[in-house]
């Protein structure tokens, strides 16, 4: 029996406002509220809400046999809570059906998996906490921001207790292998790897309404017949896309919703069922291990991380940012830590790419860099005010360790004192 695994991603960065250099040190608010609100409201009204309604209906009418997965970044959740809380409510409704799974990821949709393992762990935990609070279930499957993956990242994630990781169909990793199998990690064989079917996913997400496409119009019947024509051993087809694909990239007029409504019936008619990533990991046999020594992602033809880290501008920005991560984690200034997360969104670095600045709202990569660096300069000044960068990292750690030790010592001494006092008062009684 063949299975479809649907997964939809929601992420929107907190976009930065125009921040000139003379505001450095003066203005500590970095975000373009108007733009962010408008963007989220637009997506909520055009895509998230209507599509959620359709998915709820599909689950109901198929008795829970239609199943799908969501991955919503922490930053996106925060913005939804603020600007479109009804979207959160409608996801809560979906969560109650039991046919929907929420994935773990980095809270800030960040590149921390590459630059800072400690930050990465902290963010993943933070995100899982938030998902558990909102939707009542702790995720067991993980997908990284931009589907970035390498053996090393797999190991990190596995150690945190996640059993399944999602990644993209990258030729340098899969070679001739088909994405339609479950694989496992090179040496941590319990860690299951699911691979996005690049062609079929993009057929729905990007080509559906393209009239010059050979296969236009795409009907559910046609789509299911493609699945049927695959070799019998290929058990799983992973269809993963941005949630905006349904409603914004593909407008309702294109018939995308009718396609989605018809798909489960045609699929089930052909004995094709729907699965969630955690179920796939448990139920299907793996076809062997695959390995990626260098990080892969889901972007472009190269499927590497060059859209975020490929040029000098991006390198400088990332190194400046992650240079202070130790210090930021040490401090307990709430606004500072919040800004720290917001500044880590991979999008900010994508906008600085010369070759593929997808989704940018800047006129050029240089402008994106200029604006980001001005904001970062102010942010670094604030970090510096807490923990001056003139002190070396090690030195700082030592000092803090001493302070921590002292605190603990004081605590134990105090407890002892309490006990003694209690004993004393007992005796007196």
């Amino acid at each position: 029996m063949r299975n479809i695994c649907f997964y939809f991603e929601i992420h929107q960065p907190l976009r930065l406002k125009r921040y000139r250099f003379f505001e450095i040190g003066q203005d500590h608010y970095y975000y373009d509220d108007f733009q962010n609100e408008e963007r989220i409201r637009y997506l909520a009204d055009q895509a998230y809400l209507p599509t959620n309604r359709i998915i709820a209906e599909l689950i109901r009418s198929s008795n829970g046999n239609f199943r799908c997965t969501f991955s919503i970044s922490g930053i996106a959740l925060e913005q939804l809570e603020q600007y479109a809380p009804e979207v959160i409510d409608s996801f809560k409704e979906l969560a109650k059906t039991g046919s929907v799974e929420f994935l773990a990821e980095t809270y800030a949709h960040s590149l921390s998996s590459i630059f800072d393992a400690n930050e990465f762990k902290q963010q993943v935990k933070m995100h899982s906490d938030k998902i558990e609070v909102l939707f009542g279930k702790r995720p067991t499957a993980f997908r990284n921001a931009e589907l970035i993956y390498s053996d090393e990242i797999g190991e990190l994630v596995s150690k945190m207790g996640y059993r399944t990781i999602l990644l993209d169909e990258a030729r340098q990793m899969l070679g001739w292998k088909s994405p339609n199998y479950v694989y496992n990690h090179e040496y941590l064989t319990k860690l299951k790897l699911l691979v996005r079917n690049h062609k079929l996913s993009d057929d729905i997400a990007f080509r559906f309404s393209n009239q010059s496409w050979n296969d236009y119009p795409l009907t559910a019947e046609k789509f299911v017949s493609w699945l049927n024509a695959m070799p019998q051993e290929e058990k799983i087809v992973n269809l993963w896309m941005g949630y905006e694909a349904l409603g914004v990239f593909q407008r309702p007029e294109s018939g995308i919703y009718d396609f989605m409504k018809a798909l489960p019936y045609h699929a089930m008619e052909q004995q094709i069922s729907f699965m969630l990533p955690s179920e796939v990991g448990k139920k299907l046999e793996t076809a062997g291990s695959i390995s990626a020594q260098h990080p892969i992602s889901w972007s472009g033809l190269e499927k590497d991380i060059s859209p975020w880290t490929g040029n000098d501008l991006q390198q400088e920005a990332l190194h400046k940012l992650y240079g202070v991560s130790e210090r930021v984690r040490l401090c307990n200034d709430k606004p500072l830590q919040h800004d720290w997360l917001m500044l880590q969104s991979s999008d900010h670095f994508r906008y600085m790419s010369h070759k593929d600045a997808y989704g940018t709202n800047y006129e050029s990569p240089y402008e994106a860099f200029m604006n980001y660096m001005n904001v970062l300069a102010d942010f670094l000044e604030r970090v510096d005010a807490q923990y001056p960068t003139t002190i070396e990292n090690e030195e700082l750690n030592e000092l803090l360790k001493t302070i921590n030790h002292q605190e603990k010592e004081i605590e134990t001494l105090e407890e002892e004192l309490k006990k003694l006092r209690a004993r004393k008062s007992k005796k007196e009684n």
Partner: protein, 412 residues
């Protein structure tokens, strides 16, 4: 081709562009170019085209013997050619003041009696049109449009005019009606109009009421700098930001001063240089003094030749805040020596450059921000410098030449 300037004796960008374009076109094997200018100096590079000096073309018949002509103009034109051209005199131009050879004395500059010089140039064109063999007439800028139009009327050959600038650029909207009239007549008579940018194309269509189908953009390019290795940056502790050009209203020098003022509020490690001369120089010196930044703001006066390249190479940022710039070749020259450029969106060259910072000319905040970013972030400087150099090396006159050729063929 009718032009007004040709290197090495040039007064503005027109001469540089004429040289680059003809050199790029000459790479096509079957292209033969005769370039007419009012007054050659004899040291022009004639390896790829033939220069005819309008001041050596007789417009009034005078009897002279071969040796006398040879002694007078032999260094610039063969006497045989003089006598041959003399046969092309079909009209009576005795009303024009001519010298002993029947030729007109041109200044070759932009004198006060420019309009008269333009019409005298027209007279020369009539002689050439009657006598010479050619397939197409190409006129560079408004000074030569009347000559081109007349040559077309006489020979019946197609006329292409090349708009390097319009009076709207030069005057910020205060157009001189006489100049406008000459420009408009030239454009109306032309079979095709080439503009150096889409910006200029739009002006030609909207302000001169030309049929858009008749107007094509051919962006300028830049000649590779031969002795590029000569121009090395002198290491110094402070960053240098440079404005280089005529200090006139068109170039927006006041925006540069204001941007400098803003940058200096935040950092002291920068010096600003304004190189060039012009009618706003005094006003700019006053403004700098008023903003109290004179200790960090320097005026060099007019620079020429290799001084220009050295100044550009020594700069960390080149800035061109032009209010209206049909093309603007100088940012490309800055990029050739690896200097990052900030240009106004109102410049034609912004249309073809990716690795340069573009701001509105009036947006001094954005300009200041860009300057600050380049002097503060090494990655910004390096990227713009490295990628800019790569980019500018791929902007070739040869490609512009091919576009011009295609236009020729469409009207022939």
């Amino acid at each position: 081709m009718f032009g007004w300037e040709f290197p090495p004796h040039i007064l503005g960008g027109l001469g540089t562009a004429s040289y680059g374009l003809t050199k790029g076109m000459a790479l096509q094997d079957d292209m033969e170019i005769t370039f007419v200018i009012p007054k050659p100096h004899g040291d022009e590079d004639q390896s790829f085209l033939k220069i005819v000096g309008a001041c050596n073309v007789p417009v009034v018949w005078k009897d002279n013997d071969w040796d006398y002509v040879n002694q007078r103009i032999g260094s610039q034109m063969h006497p045989d050619e003089y006598f041959w051209l003399r046969n092309g005199i079909k009209y009576d131009y005795t009303r024009i003041y001519t010298n002993d050879l029947g030729c007109i004395d041109f200044s070759g500059r932009y004198p006060d009696n420019l309009i008269e010089e333009i019409s005298n140039y027209e007279a020369v064109a009539s002689v050439l049109a009657h006598q010479m063999e050619f397939d197409i007439i190409h006129s560079h800028d408004w000074l030569t449009y009347p000559a081109g139009v007349f040559a077309k009327q006489i020979s019946g050959k197609p006329l292409v005019i090349h708009v390097h600038a319009t009076d709207f650029d030069r005057s910020r909207g205060q157009v001189n009606p006489t100049v406008y009239g000459i420009e408009k007549r030239g454009m109306d008579a032309a079979d095709h109009i080439m503009t150096v940018s889409d910006l200029t194309r739009k002006i030609v269509i909207e302000k001169y009421f030309q049929d858009p189908r008749k107007v094509t953009t051919v962006h300028n390019a830049v000649d590779p700098l031969k002795d590029v290795d000569l121009y090395k940056k002198t290491p110094r502790k402070e960053r240098v930001v440079t404005f280089l050009g005529r200090i006139t209203m068109q170039k927006g020098p006041e925006y540069f001063v204001e941007a400098a003022y803003r940058v200096l509020q935040k950092t002291k490690n920068v010096r600003f240089v304004m190189a060039g001369n012009g009618d706003m120089l005094i006003a700019m010196i006053d403004l700098v003094a008023k903003r109290n930044i004179a200790d960090r703001f320097h005026f060099t006066g007019f620079l020429k030749g290799s001084q220009v390249h050295q100044m550009l190479a020594d700069s960390d940022v080149y800035i061109m805040p032009s209010v209206s710039e049909p093309f603007g070749i100088s940012p490309l020259e800055a990029m050739q020596v690896g200097t990052p450029s900030i240009i106004s969106k109102q410049s034609g060259c912004a249309e073809i450059l990716t690795h340069a910072i573009k701001t509105d000319y009036w947006d001094i905040d954005a300009m200041a921000d860009a300057i600050y970013s380049i002097v503060k972030n090494p990655a910004m400087y390096e990227s713009l410098s490295k990628l800019g150099l790569e980019e500018v090396n791929n902007i070739k006159w040869q490609d512009a030449g091919l576009k011009v050729r295609a236009i020729y063929e469409s009207v022939m």
